[in-house]
Assembly symmetry: D2
Homo-oligomer: 398 residues x 4
């Protein structure tokens, strides 16, 4: 969340960056019908309307209200409607009721976006103090996070519809194949530096940069593919309790899990739902939409394990990444020296550091430029609606 904002960036680059990122959200909206903005099929998934209004509210609440003189809020009800989880700021619509709201209309939400954009543009035309510039950068990165959520939430919402609606013809980036042949890369034991080096934008949870000691380990340069995952299924992986965490085993049985999310078994083999509709599974593409429990059980079945987030970061320049968010074996906890900023932005990351696992990398739904080797994503271990995948590791050097 802290960010290095040089005077130059604040004067010119920030405004351009702001406009570029905000425009991309609207580009993502183009294929939608009005109806597509509304439903919230499960609590983890927000309506498209909420996603695009919430990021707008973030700029209004965190920046315009405090730092643009004379700014008048667009609608006094919107903070209650579009605050996500900031207790510091006030009351809000319960997270599981975001889909109950037909109003404001989509049209009005776009008017809201325009209103805020115009005021942000004014603000960014002048010189902004460093602390404001940092908040703008935070807002931009926040918008990018919600661009990814926009895509993943939309995919989930459309997937529960028996019509299997198409968002955009041909838009199925999860079918991309990794080009290079995978191999295990070995790293030697020693002290490694982990966390942001303070260059460019970073979130508070990437700090302090600190030393960790790692033992010898090997990590795959490639992600586990659908074909490999099918072998796990066919070998009875989902019915062998020995491979699973106890809570994972309960999750499998209570939800009758037999395959990754969105997979459908048809006469001709596996199909999967994509934003381009239901399509035959591409066997050589990396497996996608699996929970931590599944990632861990697969690794156990292979006699290996998931890398820790520290191993991943130490080794990340030895392989290509960016197609999947990759589950690590690390729980989401504060780094040594972690400090929550004062005020509402202090609620951004720190209060979620319990019962979640870290994911590293980025996915095909991540906006360009919104990833780096120190980025820490995090989700509860049963969740699957993100574009998650598996990279294997093992102890020692064989």
């Amino acid at each position: 969340m802290q960010a290095s904002v040089s005077g130059k960036v604040a004067e010119t680059g920030l405004r351009a960056k702001y406009i570029e990122v905000r425009s991309y959200t609207e580009k993502l909206c183009e294929p939608l019908q009005t109806e597509d903005y509304i439903p919230q099929p499960i609590v983890d998934v927000s309506p498209a309307k909420w996603n695009i209004a919430h990021t707008t509210w973030f700029f209004e609440e965190m920046i315009l209200k405090k730092h643009l003189e004379g700014y008048k809020v667009f609608d006094e009800h919107f903070p209650h409607l579009f605050n996500s989880y900031y207790n510091t700021i006030g009351t809000r619509t319960a997270r599981d009721h975001r889909g109950d709201l037909s109003r404001p209309t989509v049209k009005r939400v776009f008017e809201y976006r325009k209103y805020v954009d115009e005021h942000m543009s004014s603000l960014l035309e002048g010189e902004v103090p460093d602390d404001v510039g940092e908040l703008v950068l935070l807002g931009i990165n926040h918008e990018q996070q919600h661009q990814e959520l926009f895509v993943t939430d939309l995919k989930y919402m459309l997937s529960v519809n028996p019509l299997f609606p198409v968002y955009r013809e041909g838009f199925a980036p999860e079918e991309d194949i990794e080009s290079a042949s995978p191999e295990f890369v070995e790293l030697e034991s020693g002290i490694y530096e982990i966390g942001s080096d303070g260059q460019g934008f970073f979130f508070d949870n990437e700090c302090e940069r600190h030393k960790v000691y790692l033992g010898d380990f090997a990590i795959s340069s490639g992600l586990v593919t659908n074909a490999e995952y099918i072998q796990f299924i066919d070998a009875g992986g989902y019915s062998d309790h020995r491979l699973w965490h106890s809570e994972g085993w309960d999750w499998v049985n209570q939800n009758e899990i037999e395959a990754p999310l969105y997979w459908h078994q048809r006469a001709g083999g596996w199909s999967t739902f994509t934003l381009a509709g239901l399509r035959p599974l591409v066997l050589d593409a990396p497996v996608c939409h699996i929970s931590f429990y599944e990632a861990s059980a697969y690794a156990e079945w292979k006699g290996m394990r998931l890398p820790t987030e520290f191993e991943w970061e130490a080794a990340n320049n030895k392989f290509n990444w960016g197609k999947r968010w990759e589950w690590t074996g690390s729980a989401y906890l504060p780094y040594p020296g972690f400090k929550k900023p004062a005020g509402a932005v202090g609620e951004y990351n720190g209060k979620f550091m319990i019962n979640q696992m870290v994911l590293r990398g980025a996915s095909v739904a991540t906006p360009a430029g919104h990833s780096r080797s120190t980025y820490r994503n995090f989700f509860h271990p049963h969740l699957r609606w993100q574009f998650t995948g598996i990279r294997l590791a093992y102890d020692g050097i064989r």
Copy 2:
């Protein structure tokens, strides 16, 4: 459900009636924004889109598929999407997931309506056999039931929105006042005939017409008003366990019920949400949106009781009714000689005859012409989103 359809009606009147009723649904839709068709805030409330597609499906499924030669279904997925509860017909979207569906779009649902209407119109241009005519009448009455649900469901959906959206300016028929002064009408003990006499349309649950013995009783010619209900509240009615059923008392406490649904206590007194927005409560209008538990507790507090459905029917021509569905003290059970029709329409009423209470009358949301003195409405005792009210009765003649 059985209906007397003379040849004449089948040839001329039915088609006109069909068109009239179907048009009224579309008239109800006029003030809506596209977004308003989608949300389902609670399981009891269906999205507007679902209501208008489901009634269309009813005509397609029950009539066109079987009785219009060469009929081709509009979309093979729609039966799964818009079947409500007919196990005989096949699988369906779970009732609590109707709000998860953005597609088909509203536009496409109106195309569906048009397609079915054209084919129904063709069918009704010719002579139709009595059994088909009866099904058409059933479908028309079914559509009218969903017109009422359209209004009540929409009201609920808009009510949970902190913006308190307006459906139509000035549309608040629940504010209408009963003109005549109420008095208690006395009826003498004896045998009364209850149920449909076979004239005009009626549902299967109104049959067989049968005799019941009633003791002396008195019934009010007027509904309990908001002003009277406020006295109950002010007297501590919601905190006196002696007035309540045990399950009602649990319901009050678990849901922290302190007033009828949609009431808001403001500085200046009670306001209530209507389809014309949030408005000051009209004190002399009949109380509305109360559960059976509340109706019963109010009656207990007055030292009286609710009428049975038989008393209500026996006395109904002695007072005006039609502003509220009126809770009775009768459980929803089959009349002597009740028979479920064969096939899917056999699921229309009979299978719900457990754990529900009968309401008599009609409400300000009931379409004109869709009510009669033998009509039996029924809901679970905790439900409040219909336009329900209270009419008092007592034993004996004072």
Copy 3:
């Protein structure tokens, strides 16, 4: 609850009756191990310890505290522990936490019984006013109700134990066969008088005696047997939705119901758990431990129906009854003129008159002398742990 208590009864008979009934409870306890008094496997089932302490508390609370001068309560904590549902009296242990209490010990509960018995005995040695006599009679009947619950609750608790413990060798009265051949008895339409005639003891829910009109009907003189019920199972009764109420169908599917409670399918056929352990099902004995939903579905499958409680009462002297509590097609509602007594005993019956169905008769677990033709038992339609059965009826005279 009102009762006719002549002076003579109050002076002599009541005391003897009190001692006899209280002794019978202790006789029921004889085969128990201390451990058997404690568990509460489901909310509907009370621990044996609770049952025998609660009835004792009833005498202390309703009679001794008010009507025996100088009476000192045995333990000031017991009212909180052993009050069942009387809001008038004060706080209490939540119903689903009765099984959490190891103390007071069983020994101490028997000391409590002895203490209260001694004081009740003193009280009843003298002359008691009619209103006190009525309360004593109520307490005696209340104890008898809990004797039945003692047996049914104990059976359930032991049944969930994979050891299938034996309460008493050979104690399986549910295996008794009805001796007479069943036939359908016909009754002609007309006005019948229903409810207590004011002779002997009766509960408030049996009043006022009132007239009902019944149409022609026939009712079986025998109960449905296990052999007959197996035919229903074998014919696919549990998988034919057309036979079931909608809520019954959900209940069947959610709980995977395939047979009456306590039935186990073994290699050699059906066995059933009894208080004498797991035993082969006696085919000619009346079916037992079925819900209202099952009773109703069975009747539907036979093309018949359950009798109403009024039909049952009108016809009851034309057949033998007493082996099963028999589900009727009547909801549990107040009779015309029903009045709740003032004070805590007003909570005895009236507040439960919603969402329950009436059962008539008595069962093999009912204490001798605790049944009569006007007795109204009531349970929610899904409950099965009582000794419930099925008697068929049909409309008209064939």
Copy 4:
């Protein structure tokens, strides 16, 4: 779980150790009434009967069945009843139904213990192979873990009883005060070795011994006291969202948490339930029965943090510990090189390594000899029924 068992130990010491530990369980039982063995008020708490039978089953299942020739199981039903969570072994009573079982009686469970003890004693009289010796050691340590659970589960069960029963007069070790004045001990950054060094008994989760890099930190030599924790309460700690994890804040609000478990606010100040009954809180004793959420919020309020489990282990010889299990800031995850043993014992620890936090130290309920500096205890962050406490740490050297 691996253990170094020299030949000598296997021949002599093991048998003595076995007898000593098993006897201590029976000593713990002495003050109990039969009734106290039965209830299970919440799923996390097992009945006393289950705890003492389960540890016996562990010896029978893991050792006698496989390693004592001719051994005949005591009761073929017991594995189903007393298996805790070993899928490898077979079916079992669901964890939340352990309190439903009145049988086997307590007497029979003690017979079971005697039977198994006699056979174990025979086995241990001879020479046992190392792998069997290791399993015996595991069983002994397992029994000790359940001795602690016996105490904590019993305390919880008695605590929900409004009678506040006394287990043993004067038995309130949670009132013990730490004698030394607390200070912050500083450790310098560097590489530390963590995990078992292979001497003596240890569980599989303490391996492999491995290096970690720690930065400069300071850790308190004393535990947070009740007096200090009251300051947190009085300062509004439970109503300041900024101090809490998001899930902790939900937990506080949903459960209306306002103080540690077992605390009662009386006129004269705080009291707390102990196994010696309800007693005034000892202000200078370490705070007890707090969740991870509370421990973390307290540390946040002090501007500090909890130590990691690695810091704790590195520093543990610089302070006294053993009065409380101490929440650390570390999630329960496998150490590098962790390997699950084959067979059922492989389910002992590994499958729980998700969504739990590590506790270090030992508590006043831990049996003597059952603790060491590498011991890793673990619980879900909301649980409080163990004797948990707080030790503070901070980054850097001040």
